[in-house]
């Protein structure tokens, strides 16, 4: 690293021109095996598609599988930093893995770009100039959903999430902007697959809306059981439980459910239709929210690499911060804590031909920023 910096400095001095962009080496640690592998695969495929479309052959990507285990992610990070000598790291899906890897990586002078996961600790007091979140802060979708619920005159809600930090964050996010009454607040066991007891409580409750955050298989199980239970309350949640990879497994049971996200495949912004078409052509499936985040992260790396030399950390950081790329979510910029300022949309699950998918029905929050930016001192 030091050698490379010297070399870059020398070449600048010798040529007397602006930094000549040399190659960027990206280390991607993501989940490619075991449960939850679908998310990591989508992030990886989106990222690689963006790099390919940028036409730059000086961006090298090393991909590693963390198996969704924090200890393995930490080992891989050490390997990428010490023996692969990467400049930029990205890829982590889960908040607990991000907390294990990101602070150490940024402290060693590496850039970290989060294509998913935005734990509040890294947005507030633990923010870092080399940490850029290209996805969302964990609370964002829920804050937007809470605001939308109140604006649409829904007064009573039933809240449910798994009993772990991200679950509690999501529910807290919803309550931050929701002005009505919370009739019940239920925390389930992480990984729980049978929701009969909770669904019986929902049916007995006098809430107008069930709002829940249950990522991955938990959400699939819940939604199938809820649809078959005869319960008729409206259901809403952040997009994680209603994304493309998951809707195929829930099927028509999810029709009509509302969910919040910063992206949707029908979002009418420049570049999005092209992204959806090219992703489908390349991989033979519809892109998910995670694929869109991976794609944007790839675009961000490419845009920064064309503006600055990664060897000049300050210039590269400034180039990242500009976020000078055409996000598939539309307007995108970084706030003071390097977290996104973006719109959050309300989507509805619909059927298009034989495919169950989402369409945008409105904007839940405009230029939404996170609640922790005030705690960030950098």
């Amino acid at each position: 690293m030091k050698f490379r910096t010297l070399l870059a400095a020398a070449s600048v001095a010798a040529l007397g021109v602006a930094a000549q962009a040399e190659g960027v080496k990206v280390g991607m640690i993501t989940t490619l095996s075991g449960g939850g592998a679908g998310l990591g695969i989508d992030v990886r495929d989106g990222f690689l598609l963006a790099v390919k479309q940028s036409g730059r052959d000086d961006i090298e990507v090393v991909v590693e599988d963390d198996q969704r285990k924090p200890e393995i992610a930490v080992q891989l990070a050490d390997k990428l930093i010490q023996s692969e000598k990467v400049d930029v790291m990205t890829g982590i899906i889960w908040s607990n893995l991000a907390m294990a890897v990101v602070p150490a990586a940024t402290a060693q002078g590496k850039f970290y770009l989060s294509p998913n996961a935005g734990p509040s600790a890294l947005a507030g007091r633990g923010c870092h100039e080399n940490y850029f979140n290209v996805s969302w802060q964990n609370d964002a979708f829920n804050e937007a959903a809470g605001a939308w619920t109140s604006e649409n005159g829904i007064g009573k809600v039933f809240l449910m999430a798994p009993n772990y930090p991200a679950g509690k964050d999501m529910i807290a996010g919803f309550k931050r902007f929701f002005k009505g009454e919370v009739t019940e607040e239920v925390y389930t066991k992480l990984g729980q697959q049978d929701y009969a007891a909770e669904i019986a409580q929902m049916r007995a409750s006098d809430a107008d809306l069930v709002y829940y955050f249950l990522p991955g298989g938990m959400g699939i199980s819940f939604m199938k059981q809820y649809a078959g239970s005869g319960a008729d309350k409206a259901v809403m949640g952040p997009a994680f439980s209603f994304d493309q990879g998951i809707l195929g497994a829930i099927g028509e049971a999810a029709l009509g459910v509302k969910n919040t996200a910063h992206w949707s495949k029908d979002l009418d912004v420049p570049g999005n239709a092209e992204f959806v078409a090219s992703f489908q052509a390349e991989y033979g499936r519809l892109p998910s929210l995670y694929a869109a985040q991976g794609f944007d992260t790839g675009l961000l790396v490419a845009s920064a690499a064309s503006k600055a030399d990664v060897g000049d950390a300050d210039a590269f950081r400034a180039a990242l911060k500009e976020a000078d790329f055409q996000s598939v979510r539309g307007a995108f910029k970084f706030g003071a804590n390097n977290h996104p300022i973006q719109n959050i949309y309300m989507r509805e699950v619909v059927k298009e031909g034989d495919i169950v998918t989402n369409r945008v029905i409105g904007t839940a929050a405009t230029d939404h920023t996170d609640a922790y930016v005030g705690d960030c001192k950098m």
């Binding site: 449960g35 592998a37 239920v186 697959q193 007891a197 199938k224 099927g251």
Partner: protein
């Protein structure tokens, strides 16, 4: 909280317990008869669910999916017994744990390789979808009611098989003295393959039944496996009756605990503290139950010393 809601939760607990019984019966049978700790039992559950989802998706028939689940899991069980487990009978439990743990990894990645990384779709058959109104005005999902009936029928069939049939006599004999029944001319290795395939078929069957209302995905078997181990430890390892009683106990304790504990704590604490203490304690409840049972009956409820 009404009495109807409580009755509904008891039904939910029964249904959950009967599902666990199908898993635990195979596990306890295999341990009781063959002395094998089979960590890969959860993978056979997953194989059943994936076979059902695959066949039901291709043919549109849930019944065919169930048949496929039984066949695929039994076949996978027989193959595993012949190629791997057979070499482990004389080894100690640590070797068995190691080998069957390896099988979990092989099954998980193999399934991912065959079916992809995204969860599969398996829906409740149209005839069993929706809710029915029970006497007293409880609306209950028809499919869960069907699971209760099927679970009870399988339990009855299994008791009959073990207590009344020739093969059951051999299984019980093999349980008490392996060398002796081999000396009496019973083909012990065929018996073992059969028992293993039977246990696997039960796991696959329960995977397929549950798959219709849960997520069919890689790794779905491991959480259930842990619960099944809790069940057989409570019931007494090797005892089918113990597995039945243990499964119902665990099902009821878990379901009612999740529902009642936050309410109970609500009488003495403010709502948000009651919710978090109640749900934290509810997720520990079955392990507390297990510890309590072991304290008073170290071999489990129906275990032999």
């Amino acid at each position: 909280m009404s009495i109807l809601l409580l009755i509904e939760q008891v039904l939910n607990g029964l249904q959950f317990g009967l599902m666990l019984f199908l898993m635990a019966a195979g596990l306890t049978l295999i341990f009781g008869v063959m002395g094998i700790i089979n960590l890969a039992h959860g993978s056979l559950y997953m194989v059943g669910a994936f076979a059902a989802a695959g066949v039901a998706g291709a043919t549109g028939s849930f019944a065919l999916g169930l048949v496929a689940a039984l066949a695929a899991a039994a076949m996978a069980g027989a193959i595993v017994e012949i190629t791997v487990i057979r070499r482990l009978y004389t080894r100690d439990h640590l070797d068995q744990v190691l080998a069957t743990f390896a099988l979990i990894l092989i099954f998980s990645e193999g399934t991912r390789w065959l079916f992809g990384s995204f969860p599969l779709f398996l829906d409740v058959p149209a005839a069993l979808s929706g809710a029915v109104t029970l006497p007293g005005g409880i609306e209950y999902p028809l499919y869960r009611l069907a699971i209760i009936v099927i679970g009870l029928a399988v339990a009855a069939g299994l008791f009959w098989l073990i207590a009344r049939t020739r093969i059951g006599i051999r299984i019980r004999a093999g349980e008490s003295d392996r060398e002796m029944i081999a000396a009496l001319g019973v083909d012990i290795s065929r018996l073992y393959t059969l028992v293993f395939a039977l246990g696997a078929a039960l796991a696959g069957f329960s995977g397929a039944l549950v798959g219709a209302i849960q997520s069919v995905q890689v790794g779905m078997g491991e959480p259930v496996l842990i619960l099944a181990f809790v069940v057989i430890v409570i019931g007494g390892i090797g005892s089918i009756r113990g597995a039945f009683v243990g499964a119902i106990l665990v099902g009821l304790t878990d379901t009612l605990g999740r529902f009642l504990l936050p309410v109970l704590f609500g009488f003495v604490m403010d709502p948000s503290a009651a919710t978090s203490v109640g749900s934290a304690l509810a997720s520990m409840l079955i392990y507390i139950l297990m510890a309590a049972v072991l304290l008073f009956r170290p071999t489990g409820l129906y275990g032999r010393a």
